[in-house]
Amino acid sequence: MDLNFLFISALNGVVYGAFLLLTSLGLSLVFGLGRVVNFAHGALYALGGYALIEVMRRTGVGFWPAVLAAPLLVFLVAMAIERTTIYPIRNRPEIYSLLMTFGISLMMIGAVEFVWGTATSLITVPALFAGTVDVLGNQYPLYRLAATTISLVTAGGVFAVIQLTPVGLRIRAISDDAEVAEAVGIDTKWLLTLVFGAAAALAAFAGALGAPIFAIYPEMGTNILLDSFLAVILGGLGDLPGSAIGAFVVALTKAIGGGYIADWSVAVLFLVVAAVLVLRPTGIFGRGRIA
């Protein structure tokens, strides 16, 4: 295996990592705030892809307006889902949120298959970033680099909102101690619904933006869901910077390891995650919370 192969594998890993970052942040945020283990996150990611297709088909708009519209639609759908299914079981043990969201995921994937069929849809790369670009002597698709940059900027925006805005302050307060946050007058219930919707919108944005790279099919969310869980657990559930690092650890391990030891790399990754859960359940930085 030569150095160039390693480089391209790593580059692919960074591209995937940027998308995984968006889904992992949402997963981590929702757990940190509402203690919701969201197994429907992958289905919401897939819904983003299908919303993109539907918006483009129905309104005839181009790729970019649809990429912005898709997360908005999913945002509304997700808030409705949260209010009807997760909100009523908030006071039950958190394992119920896992069961509930698993049911939601089954239902959503079933609905997607029913409405749009099981076929894989390919989305053409938008003209703006069509073609390839020379990266150290390799012809690399330009869109991958552009989409990666957009994902990273979006993730940066999420961090900025959480660290710098009043809403972010409230979110941090709830994630720190939900009861005290409520006692000082923060409307935790609606904020949790809002954050669930926002996390779903992030996943949907990733699904739509990644469509020209990863294609759209009903089960498209299952792998990225598991990878996001790996990332979030590595980083510590609820710890956003940890989740961000976790996302790139997972993506790079899969991309680089996959080139050398094929599917064994994922097995190793799961073993590492199981070990982290047992030995260091608070994640690599020790700031997450699990039980």
Partner: protein, 320 residues
């Protein structure tokens, strides 16, 4: 004084009648339905084994495809390469499953709640990846094929009816064994741990040891189901270990009603029959099942068995 009929007597009669009904069914139904029933009973064994963890120990395992798929691979490989003798195959499969359960359970039972759920998922995913990657033995994504029919008592279980009877025997045996287990002092100890692990430890129970034992027993029973399935399907694929299967068996168990044993069995049979009905008639099976599952979690956390239990109790209350 006249002998009074107790609820326990009635339950016993119902059990005997149910077994008799199961054994008589082959004479009334079409071969295709018999195959479906065989599969349903195998899934029922699997769901009951999960109930030991979820219902009786309070450990929600999200990776229960692991023992099922692992036993399928071990049994299928042994039956094809060495001997299709049913009991020899079962022993080999159980050795493999119990060994892996003993090792992984040692790690997994250190956690509880969501952490346990995710560790068990990780264990299943590791096995899934091994099944995909270890091509010389598992044949990768193609899976094991051409597993011969099982042999026992000098005959081959070629005919659907014979294999069905074998499955009924396994199902009744598994139910009786698990029933005894959960009603034993050991079962009560598990109950104590589920209710309050800290207090259980305070009165001298070793929660780790008991959770580990429950884990191994649960895997061993799931291994029986996996062994039966690989013979029934004459093979297996890595999809048997996929996490959606883990989700399915958890859904069957909760749908049926955890902590009751018969609930998960009914849940599994309902799941299998409905899946067959819906997938052949219209395509929205997954949607319907997801919807029903959500409603169960939302409104009837005790599942079908919960409804049956309430009816059963009110029946006896009105008599007295």
């Amino acid at each position: 004084m006249a002998k009074i009929v107790t609820p326990a007597d009635c339950a016993q009669v119902i059990r005997v009648l149910a077994t008799a009904l199961l054994l008589m069914l082959p004479y009334f139904v079409a071969p295709f339905t018999l195959t479906l029933l065989t599969e349903a009973l195998i899934l029922a064994i699997w769901a009951m084994s999960l109930d030991v963890l979820v219902g009786f120990t309070g450990l929600v395992a999200f990776g229960h495809a692991a023992p099922f798929g692992l036993a399928s691979y071990a049994a299928g490989y042994f039956a094809r390469e060495v001997s299709p003798d049913f009991f020899a195959t079962l022993v080999v499969a159980e050795i493999v499953v119990v060994a892996v359960a003993a090792a992984t359970g040692f790690v997994a039972t250190r956690a509880s709640g969501v952490a346990f759920a995710i560790i068990s998922l990780a264990i299943a995913q590791v096995l899934f990846q091994i099944a995909v990657a270890w091509r010389p033995v598992t044949e990768g994504m193609d899976g094991l094929a051409n597993v011969p029919l099982p042999r026992a008592f000098g005959t081959s279980f070629g005919e659907g009816r014979a294999f069905y009877v074998l499955t009924v025997a396994a199902f009744v045996g598994a139910y009786a064994a698990l029933r005894r287990l959960v009603d034993s002092p050991f079962g009560h100890t598990l109950h104590a741990i589920r209710t309050n692990e800290g207090r259980a430890a305070a009165i001298g129970i070793n929660p780790r040891l008991h959770k580990w034992l429950a884990f191994v027993i649960s895997w061993a029973i799931a291994g029986l189901a996996g062994t039966l399935l690989v013979f029934m399907k004459a093979g297996t694929t890595p999809m048997a270990l996929h996490w959606t299967e883990s989700g399915n068996v958890l859904a069957m168990t909760i749908f049926g009603g955890i902590g009751t044993l018969f609930g998960p069995a009914i849940g599994a049979i309902t799941f299998d029959v409905l899946r067959d009905e819906f997938t052949s008639r219209f395509q929205a099976w997954q949607f319907v099942f997801g919807l029903v599952f959500i409603l169960v979690v939302l409104a009837f956390p005790s599942g079908i068995a919960g409804i049956v239990n309430v009816a059963w109790k009110s029946l006896w209350r009105s008599r007295s």
